[in-house]
């Protein structure tokens, strides 16, 4: 198996590669000595597979376990809702990871792992052996009372994992009558993409303003304040969308019900509940690590997220298993750009650990700098942005935000809107190609 894999890899590399991978090695036909398995083909997992393969060189084989042929990017997916970006443009397969870096693609679902024996069980019944396992399955959701069946869940899409629900929500917005109401709910932090829900509120409000001018959107936020880019979003809510967007802080939705074609979001109010009625309900339930992380017993942070060593993203509770991306519980924001950065730190640590090298030398610690940049559309033609750099802090042993690097755009602009696409395209390329 591993011999075939390496021969195939070598033939691909010898015949096709037009670009030598930057910062990497050319792979040679030599039996692999170490096996790394990555679970999940999103921003964290795809980047990890690519960089372990590059940096590990010919002595490391990498397999990527992902049941879906196409990963749909959450980044830019709010712009599908107002038809500003084509849904198909956000789908990425993993073929480049195979062709360029020799990553073996395994279309299957991980169901169980034994970290000591180094075995990953797959839904198909087969097993993959690993020396190190990188788990990057993304988020899951708390169950919502009133939405117990898949049919009901499809009527009230979260669209917080991009995919078919993104299209469902878009279609509901397109079909709603002028004069009817949309409700968007925001879960308690931490959740995936801190500015994301506020950005979505803006995109929907802008769509209503242009296409359904008698309609309005109500934003029910379980948090006491706006969680990211407060200046940009407060200005948008209070000025651009005044009279069209109602923002309600401290509004935690505890259940959902139906009255004919209308949806009701019930908000906790002391011992009682307040009903908010609407025609389109985009309820984003409280986020937690994806079910696989819970199933593997890795969710030791508040029972919701996977605790990890920030130097390696190795699980705090299971040796040889690393958790990166939105499922990890370091306190780093949960978002695609920083997931790509976490994956590189993890890939570097995995390669060092496979070689028996230390991961805590001063020069490495000073190389643990992670970037988080993102652009948020505010209108059909303008966007704002948010920036932060995170670095390892020896005093606390944590990844800490560098405050001097933290800030948001002074105003939303068409230039930012154009730059948003350059930024996203580059991040897609660094992750999937």
């Amino acid at each position: 198996m591993s011999m075939n894999f390496n021969r195939r890899t070598f033939l691909k590399a010898a015949s096709g590669a037009t670009a030598l991978p930057l910062l990497g090695h050319v792979r040679h036909a030599r039996a692999a000595t170490s096996r790394v398995v990555v679970v999940g083909g999103g921003f964290a997992g795809a980047t990890a597979a690519k960089y372990v393969a590059q940096w590990g060189g010919p002595g490391v084989s990498v397999s990527l376990v992902e049941p879906d042929a196409t990963h749909v990017s959450c980044i830019l997916s709010n712009l599908v809702l107002n038809d500003r970006v084509k849904y198909a443009a956000l789908g990425f397969n993993h073929s480049m990871l195979h062709q360029r870096y020799g990553v073996e693609l395994v279309r299957d679902r991980a169901v169980a792992a034994d970290p000591v024996a180094g075995k990953l069980d797959l839904a198909s019944g087969s097993t993959l052996a690993f020396d190190r396992l990188i788990v990057a399955p993304g988020i899951g959701f708390d169950p919502v009372p009133g939405l117990g069946t898949p049919a009901l869940q499809a009527m009230v899409p979260h669209a917080w994992i991009a995919g078919s629900q993104t299209l469902t929500l878009r279609d509901q917005l397109m079909k709603m009558a002028n004069g009817t109401t949309v409700i968007l709910t925001i879960p308690k932090a931490p959740y995936r993409c801190p500015p994301g829900p506020y950005e979505r509120a803006c995109v929907i409000a802008d769509y209503l303003k242009r296409k359904k001018p008698r309609s309005k959107i109500v934003v029910l936020d379980a948090n006491p304040v706006i969680q990211a880019e407060p200046s940009a979003f407060l200005n948008a809510f209070n000025v651009l969308y005044a009279g069209r967007l109602e923002y309600v802080p401290n509004a935690e939705v505890v259940r959902v019900s139906f009255e004919g074609s209308r949806r009701v979001a019930w908000v906790r109010n002391g011992a009682s509940e307040i009903a908010y009625r609407c025609d389109v309900l985009n309820h984003i339930p409280r986020n937690t690590a994806a079910p696989l992380v819970h199933h593997l017993g890795l969710a030791n942070v508040g029972g919701r997220w996977a605790g990890v060593d920030p130097l390696s993203f190795e699980s705090a509770v299971a040796p040889n298993i690393h958790v990166i991306g939105d499922a990890q519980g370091t306190g780093l924001p949960k978002a695609g750009h920083i997931a790509n950065c976490e994956a590189k730190v993890c890939a570097d640590a995995v390669v060092r650990m496979l070689n028996g090298w230390p991961i805590d030398e001063p020069a490495r610690l000073s190389s643990l700098v992670l970037n988080s940049a993102c652009y948020s559309p505010i209108t059909y033609t303008t966007a704002s942005w948010l920036n932060a750099v995170f670095a390892y802090d020896a005093g606390s042993g944590l990844m800490k935000r560098v405050d001097a690097s933290f800030g948001e755009a002074e105003r939303h602009s068409t230039k930012n809107f154009e730059q948003m696409f350059k930024w996203a395209e580059r991040l897609f390329d660094d992750t999937f190609a």
């Binding site: 037009t18 670009a19 030598l20 930057l22 910062l23 960089y51 940096w55 830019l76 712009l79 038809d83 500003r84 970006v85 084509k86 443009a89 956000l90 990425f92 480049m96 750009h337 950065c341 590189k344 730190v345 570097d348 060092r352 020069a363 490495r364 000073s366 190389s367 700098v369 992670l370 970037n371 940049a373 059909y380 033609t381 942005w385 920036n387 932060a388 750099v389 670095a391 560098v402 001097a404 690097s405 933290f406 800030g407 948001e408 755009a409 002074e410 809107f417 730059q419 696409f421 350059k422 930024w423 996203a424 395209e425 580059r426 991040l427 897609f428 390329d429 660094d430 999937f432 190609a433």
Partner: protein
């Protein structure tokens, strides 16, 4: 004479800081730039391409960005996340490891991009761009 001694001492300091970091350390540090900057001929999207520049040029630009006052800019804030030693290591890494420039000049990524896009086959399969306004 004293001035010269000082600059030699500074150079030695810089050298020793660089020498302490193994190539793997610099590679990790530099790799995080690739989320926003391509550093080879085929990489798509992003801002100024990090090809065809000397370490001194890259470091100078980054230090300039870090010091820049006035209108807020993402790269200004990004640069503020790095100290001088980290900037030198990043600059050195790209000067040695980045590919040659796509066109004869660098720094104008818009021109680089259009030329590059016309020639290069899409790496990630497609270009992501907004639909026309409706």
């Amino acid at each position: 004479m004293q001035k010269m001694g000082k600059s030699v001492a500074l150079a030695l300091c810089a050298w020793s800081a660089l020498a302490l970091a193994a190539p793997e350390d610099d590679r990790l540090l530099a790799s995080q730039c690739l989320g926003c900057h391509a550093a080879d001929r085929t990489g798509r999207g992003g801002f100024d391409r990090l090809t065809g520049e000397t370490a001194a040029e890259i470091a100078e630009e980054m230090i300039e960005m870090r010091a820049k006052s006035g209108a807020k800019n993402i790269m200004h804030l990004q640069a503020r996340g790095y100290d001088d030693d980290q900037i030198q290591r990043i600059a050195q890494w790209f000067a040695v490891n980045a590919g040659s420039p796509v066109s004869g000049r660098s720094g104008d990524d818009d021109e680089d991009e259009s030329e590059h896009r016309a020639k290069a086959k899409s790496a990630s399969g497609r270009r992501v761009s907004p639909t026309t306004r409706r």
